[in-house]
Symmetry: C2
């Protein structure tokens, strides 16, 4: 990666993935061109159709190729008609997150102007969830005994390291320092998960001591879901583990207009492997190919990518265009390309 | 227990616990009297003040005494000024749930008439969460290594057995059979937690085969939180594990007017030990002693107890009185005793 080129690996994936990625790339081409950034893209045919054809999810060769890019853009993977549930999620999505050490799973939560929230009185919502991406219950630790018998025992092990939690928490505090409200909320369940929760709390206290300008508090995950629907404006930066982050970010997306608008970054802040950006929505096979999927989440994921790669100007331009578009959105249904066109037009 | 007496153990506990339990007992006395049920109560001084005085959370002797009752009613425990967070939750609440095999943690979710929901368009909400109470991440399995060092590793183990999940799932399907919509939704995260999630799904499929009149579906926990705020009317009976149930029921309480209205039963359906009923709210030390806590959740917990002990008539009488009360509630703030009075008055 140089300051003026981005070598992007693109995984359009399944269902609505290719449709929304197409719009994301159109918007990227425009803002990059205007900013004097050269973009090269390489497409990777990964996902359900590839699996159906070849039985292969992700080869080591492809992994090596993906690794050479500056960043990755993913649409969505999964198609229950072609591949058993979980195979692509674990074999592709989670494999990339773990192999490329995407320890910061970054999910901004913003209620854009004009967007209807299911909440009666949402107020302004503008927070960010800093979700751990490489530990916890996602490590694939655990197993099963006497499967299929009345004596089956199935375990899932949440593995948490001080190394893993601390680097994430440091990222969260550094991020909070750059935001106006400078507040971090740790979400865990430390009254029950005493080992992991105790460690997270100790590390937050330690890191907080080095950031006297950032305030912090703690919420149990169950209480956090209450506040997300009763007082979402109280949150600034939430730092939490892999599973709690998964749950809270879908809920947070729901109160800000739905997963059609929610972007995410799987970030390796150390630059030892490319970060990967994706809408948090899935492949939605039921509406695939109809040109009706909302590409906004994919477009906002492109903005997150530009931010992460050190191009905050074009990133903010995209977000402003999206805000202008949502503000003008009526109730009229618009297609995927139509929304892409509208956002491009707002770029001026 | 006979058909005409209930020998009740009462744990008022801390904070607002004693205040709300008092109103619950008033309502119980009235409906029981009218139904020819004799109630005897024994109070147990357990909780933060006891802990502060004696250093004791729950002795084996007290456990043995509690075990002799027909049922237990608990207000709330915990007081951060007197006892470290988690000590009473684990040493008292969870200890009772595990020792008395409260494997059905039952949490009805109903939007009562006149109650304001934070949702703009909640529609009718009437479902019940059947949460597992004796397994999963609540077993206290796990540990920590090199605590307090940069090399700390902390684990939490979710332990799930076919025995434990199946009996809960059977309870959920039997319950669904008695409800008009007869629908069960399994909530898990089987695309990631393949061992536990795979087992839960297999057991749901097996139990469902024996209940052809009950329909069922599956949702990932993250998607379930979305539907709870966008389409809560779709749920009838949710069956889920201990931690997911904890999270979903706080969220469900939030959309139906808050934890001040949410009852729960820790039920041992086999009758090998007393079931325990409690509001899902905590001890709220900040408002304790002011007579402002809403006792409705405690009163509804009494109704759930009567249901469970085989007295659906008086139970439904309480719920009708609560519905009449909430329907007439204006915005005026009312105190704890005032709400108790009002509900008693509605009993006629
Ligand atoms: C698809 C699934 C494995 C994934 C997760 O649980 O992380 C998704 O829900 C997400 O949030 O990106
Ligand atoms: C206090 C805590 C241990 C408890 C739980 O997590 O089960 C509470 O949140 C609940 O839902 O009853």
């Amino acid at each position: 990666m140089s300051d003026t080129t981005i070598d992007l690996g693109v995984i359009p994936g399944d269902g609505i993935g290719p449709e929304v990625v197409e719009q994301g790339l159109r918007v990227l081409a425009r803002v990059a061109g205007d900013a004097g950034l050269a973009i090269t893209t390489t497409e990777y045919d990964l996902g359900a159709r590839r699996y159906e054809r070849t039985g292969e999810v992700l080869s080591d060769e492809t992994m090596a190729e993906l690794r050479r890019h500056d960043a990755l853009l993913l649409g969505a993977v999964g198609d229950p008609r072609r591949v058993p549930a979980g195979v692509l999620e674990r074999g592709l999505l989670l494999r990339l997150r773990f192999a490329f050490d995407h320890y910061v799973n970054l999910r901004p939560v913003e209620l854009f102007p004009g967007v209807a929230s299911p909440l009666a009185d949402p107020g302004p919502i503008d927070f960010v969830v800093v979700r751990e991406g490489t530990e916890g219950l996602y490590t694939g630790n655990g197993g099963a005994l006497r499967v299929g018998t009345p004596h089956e025992v199935a375990t899932e092990v949440s593995v948490n390291t001080a190394f893993g939690a601390r680097r994430l928490i440091e990222h969260a505090f550094a991020l909070a320092e750059r935001r106006p409200r400078r507040h971090v909320t740790l979400v865990h369940k430390k009254n029950v998960l005493v080992n992991a929760g105790g460690m997270w709390q100790r590390l937050v206290d330690e890191v907080a001591a080095a950031h006297p300008d950032v305030t912090h508090d703690y919420l149990h995950v169950d209480a956090a879901t209450i506040f997300i629907v009763t007082d979402p404006g109280r949150f600034d930066v939430i730092v939490t583990d892999n599973l709690f982050g998964d749950i809270l970010t879908d809920l947070a997306a729901a109160i800000t207009g739905g997963i059609g608008l929610a972007a995410s970054g799987n970030i390796n802040p150390d630059g030892t492997a490319p970060s990967m950006f994706e809408p948090i929505h899935g492949s939605a096979p039921d509406i695939a190919g109809q040109g009706v999927a909302d590409p906004t989440a994919a477009i906002l994921s492109v903005a997150l990518m530009l931010d992460t790669l050190g191009h905050p100007g074009p990133a903010e331009r995209i977000r402003q265009a999206v805000r202008a578009d949502t503000a003008a959105r009526g109730d009229a249904a618009r297609g995927t390309a139509e929304i892409g066109d509208a956002i491009l037009a707002r770029l001026g």
